[in-house]
């Protein structure tokens, strides 16, 4: 361009002007384009925001967002509704200030004690039970706030309560007439209401036994209901497991003698006292031992052994009974399971014993399993970790 100095001013300036205009025009275009894009992005963001707000505001769960400094950044109408706080007067306030609002106290307490992400339910007022879930909000591994979700679980809780109420009532209502039958039969059998002959006595004794089974069944059903509610285990106390097993064995003496079954108790290595819910462990041992005797033919032996290693105690209960067929072994610990071979032989049971036993052992962080061969016998094992007292 510099070489062409001879060119006329007008010529140059026209060209330059054109170029300049072009340059001027282009940034304007670019600017307009950029502005347009920005606007579009803004609109999109706005739309996104509106969409999220619409979701948040219409969500059936309560949602609250706290910022980095634990100030309340957002609360949706449902959360305000749940907590009985209306309007914007709490947005922006710190969690410490929120703790002063009565209906928020529980929530704030939970919030401050929380770990990373977790869930807990709490009661608000008379009829509302909320389950609170908190989760951290992260941006590039940095915590930018906390999300709190409040879910209404009142209905579930109500149904749960109704269920336990029902179980409790039916257990009570069923037990009362059964008690009457038990008492009257016992008094007749014992000859307290006048003499009866042997045949009468035998029949009535059988009726008494049937009634006892019914009572036992109700006790088992109550246990199952408690297990499902998660309220089954109570306090653990230092327990001598050897003595506990011995007492359980003794309670079967009569039955075993009547059926000519020998019960052998082998203590390989006696553990010191363990922290157990003794009455429940007794139920577990009782249920396994009851099966071992019930499903063994007369004249056989049942062997219980107790052993320990560094970490666990181990109990095994071995019988020489009819065994459990391979195809059914998976179902043994399920509720109401009864072996096909057992039902055919008309041996009574409700199929709850092993389900209860398993729940008890597992509640002690232990394991339960078995080995079985058809017509050879079954061995049940359970282990319970030893915790130093």
């Amino acid at each position: 361009m510099r070489k062409k100095k001879t060119k006329s001013f007008a010529e140059i300036s026209a060209k330059e002007c054109f170029e300049k205009l072009k340059v001027l025009k282009n940034p304007q275009k670019a600017l307009i384009k950029a502005l347009k894009e920005l606007k579009q992005a803004q609109e999109e963001a706005e739309e996104q925001r509106n969409r999220i707000l619409a979701i948040v505001n219409n969500f059936s769960d309560g949602i609250m967002v706290f910022d980095q400094k634990n100030n309340l950044a957002l609360i949706n109408p449902q959360a305000e509704n749940f907590l009985g706080i209306k309007g914007n007067n709490i947005t922006g306030k710190s969690i410490l200030k929120l703790a002063r609002v009565a209906s928020l106290k529980m929530l704030v307490d939970i919030f401050r004690n929380k770990k990373k992400a977790f869930r807990q339910s709490f009661k608000v007022g008379e009829n509302l039970v909320l389950e609170m879930t908190t989760a951290p909000l992260m941006r590039e591994k940095k915590r930018t706030g906390t999300l709190v979700i409040l879910h209404d679980v009142s209905k579930e809780k109500l149904i749960e309560e109704m269920k336990s109420e029902f179980v409790f009532l039916s257990a009570h209502q069923l037990r009362t007439p059964l008690s009457a039958i038990k008492w009257i039969l016992k008094m007749v059998v014992d000859g307290e209401l006048g003499p009866i002959n042997k045949e009468q006595k035998d029949f009535l004794s059988d009726a008494y036994k049937s009634n006892e089974r019914m009572i036992q069944l109700i006790t088992n059903l109550l246990d199952v209901a408690k297990i499902e509610e998660g309220k089954y285990l109570y306090e653990k106390s230092p327990t001598d497991i050897k003595e506990l097993i011995q007492i359980t064995i003794n309670s079967f003496k009569k039955t075993a003698v009547a059926k000519k079954i020998r019960i052998k108790f082998k203590v390989v290595k006696k553990p010191s006292k363990l922290l157990l819910d003794a009455s429940k462990i007794r139920v577990a041992v009782n249920n396994i031992l009851d099966n071992a005797i019930k499903y063994s033919p007369s004249g056989k032996m049942v062997t219980i052994s107790l052993n320990r290693d560094k970490k666990n105690i181990r109990v095994s209960i071995k019988d020489q009974g009819m065994g459990i067929s391979k195809s059914q072994q998976k179902k043994v610990f399920t509720k109401f399971f009864r072996g096909a071979n057992v039902i055919k032989k008309d041996i009574r049971g409700a199929g709850l014993g092993l389900f209860i036993a398993k729940s008890i052992i597992e509640a002690h962080c232990g394991k339960i399993w078995f080995e079985s061969k058809k017509n050879k016998g079954t061995t049940f094992y359970f282990t319970i970790p030893i915790k130093e007292i």
């Binding site: 009570h172 008094m187 307290e192 109550l222």
Partner: protein, 122 residues
């Protein structure tokens, strides 16, 4: 003089059955069909022992127990709870409130109940 036992039980059949059994053993028996009458009888008759059901129409057994244990005129009378409530919390509550024993109806025969009565009265 024969010792006097109060039976608080709303189920007529159970009440009569156990009352009959107790009488046969040579004790005197007073019967009450609900909690209110039970509490009245305790105050008026001062029995030597109370056999107390828990689920009763109106005033329940726990209330009867609380009432008699807070009254210095009756708080020394021994109580055996005879109920079909068998949950551990009920049993613990009953014993904590001052009952001498807690029997679940369906788990005891009349003869066994008598044995408990005798041992408490000793």
């Amino acid at each position: 003089m024969a010792k006097k036992i109060l039976v608080v039980e709303d189920d007529k059949f159970l009440r009569e059955l156990i009352a009959q059994k107790i009488m046969k053993e040579g004790y005197d028996v007073i019967e009450a069909v609900d909690g209110e009458k039970g509490a009245e009888s305790i105050k008026k008759e001062k029995p030597d022992l109370v056999l107390l059901d828990l689920i009763l129409p109106g005033v329940d057994g726990f209330e009867v127990l609380a009432k008699m244990k807070s009254d210095p005129a009756t708080n020394q009378i021994p109580v055996i709870i005879l109920s079909n409530l068998g949950q551990k919390d009920d049993i613990e509550k009953g014993l904590e409130m001052g009952a001498n024993d807690y029997l679940i109806k369906a788990h005891f025969t009349p003869a066994e109940i008598m044995e408990k009565i005798r041992s408490v009265l000793k």
